[in-house]
Subunit: 264 residues, 2 copies
Amino acid sequence: MSREPFSARLAARGREVGSLLCLGLDPTGCADASEVERFCVAMLEAALPHVVAVKPNLAFFEQHGAAGLAVLERVRHMVPASRLLILDAKRSDIGSTAEAQARALFDVWGADAVTVNPLLGQDAVAPFLARPGTAALILARTSNPGAADFLEAPLQDGRPLYRLIVERALTWSGAAEIGFVVGATAAPVVAEVRCLAPSAPLLLPGIGAQGGDLEAAVSAGLDAAGGGVVVPVSRGITGAADPRAAAADLCRRIEAVRAGAPRR
Amino acid sequence: MSREPFSARLAARGREVGSLLCLGLDPTGCADASEVERFCVAMLEAALPHVVAVKPNLAFFEQHGAAGLAVLERVRHMVPASRLLILDAKRSDIGSTAEAQARALFDVWGADAVTVNPLLGQDAVAPFLARPGTAALILARTSNPGAADFLEAPLQDGRPLYRLIVERALTWSGAAEIGFVVGATAAPVVAEVRCLAPSAPLLLPGIGAQGGDLEAAVSAGLDAAGGGVVVPVSRGITGAADPRAAAADLCRRIEAVRAGAPRR
């Protein structure tokens, strides 16, 4: 299958929908798999008009066992081709194991992009870079307090680990694109990663419940064309009294930043 | 549920079975989920008499979708209580997401221990430390070439990253035990981790197909009581002409190292 690069698809879909917002599907607190399914159906119906992408986190499906993954397979088919599917699983493993993970995420569950944990190095990430038109979004600096434990640890040359991860990942090659996950809770790091990787797609989690500043993070992350970012929000939409209105408002705020940003 | 600590269970089961060998269930090359199930049934039947633990890697089940995970759920029930179940999934995520991952692995799929990727720091690992009697086996230095990219990167004080991971993880507390995954391909690192963590359970992958030296790795990893290690082998058993004989031979070689090792 020949497909345009992920970034080009993100830009095109973003223009069509008028949004860089991504619905994070994190069904917490559901009693069983069928409740998960009802939750996903309701949230997709509410938010799809205002989002360019949908990002289920596999953990919330896995916690209901195989039945939960069966729901993911049905939910996947509710995401129209006009939206991008980002599967958040933070996988990676050695050799043939990472190949099996990539098959699950891209070939079985149909991801357009996946989040990847780079700790095990290049050969553990390579299988996620094999499919044209997709992207591997590599964890660079996450939005949680524990990011300070290792990702910000200073290396011998003074760089924090996350910077080595970004610089090294940019030398890796594959048919897919490499992007990065950078927590919106640290806008200066978003700006730093954008500087290192001018054209990489950036996923900016941490808006809303985690306290990330939407305007600061998006402004720091936009590429020269005023795009290149995906802003996932889960609880800020799915926990709102009116999820549709919450999504519309978040979308509008992102577009306002884009409208005001200088084109670099 | 009150259970003995993981290490105590490992020691007791190890004595009963007379083995520290672990069957790695990595069903590669199966056409579909039912072939995966036949593979697992056959390998469990062949190897169970000679192993103290069974370690399925979830990737090889996931690549067959929800049907593959349903097989994992059935396979899980074929592992008797006299053997430990180590689920190899290398998970971790932030906050409530890691909690959902831990629920999937321990509560739904019944793991006695799981492998955990520490990159995101303490709060991403904490949910895997909540269950008494279990263990979180933290990736320290893996057996693949990419371990050189980040895990061996020197920090400002000269320590490689894996050493910071081990030292920091040993300060984390929880109801569960903390152990480490150290590739058998680097016996000196196994010895170093054992020195840092005298009583932690160590999982030593990389024997066989990956070229790790069984005798060197086991010798380096044994604790003062001559135990504390789990030696997972997958292809070296499941790819053998006679898997039962291969498991018996590996078990015998590990026991020979233990018999010859000085009690420290």
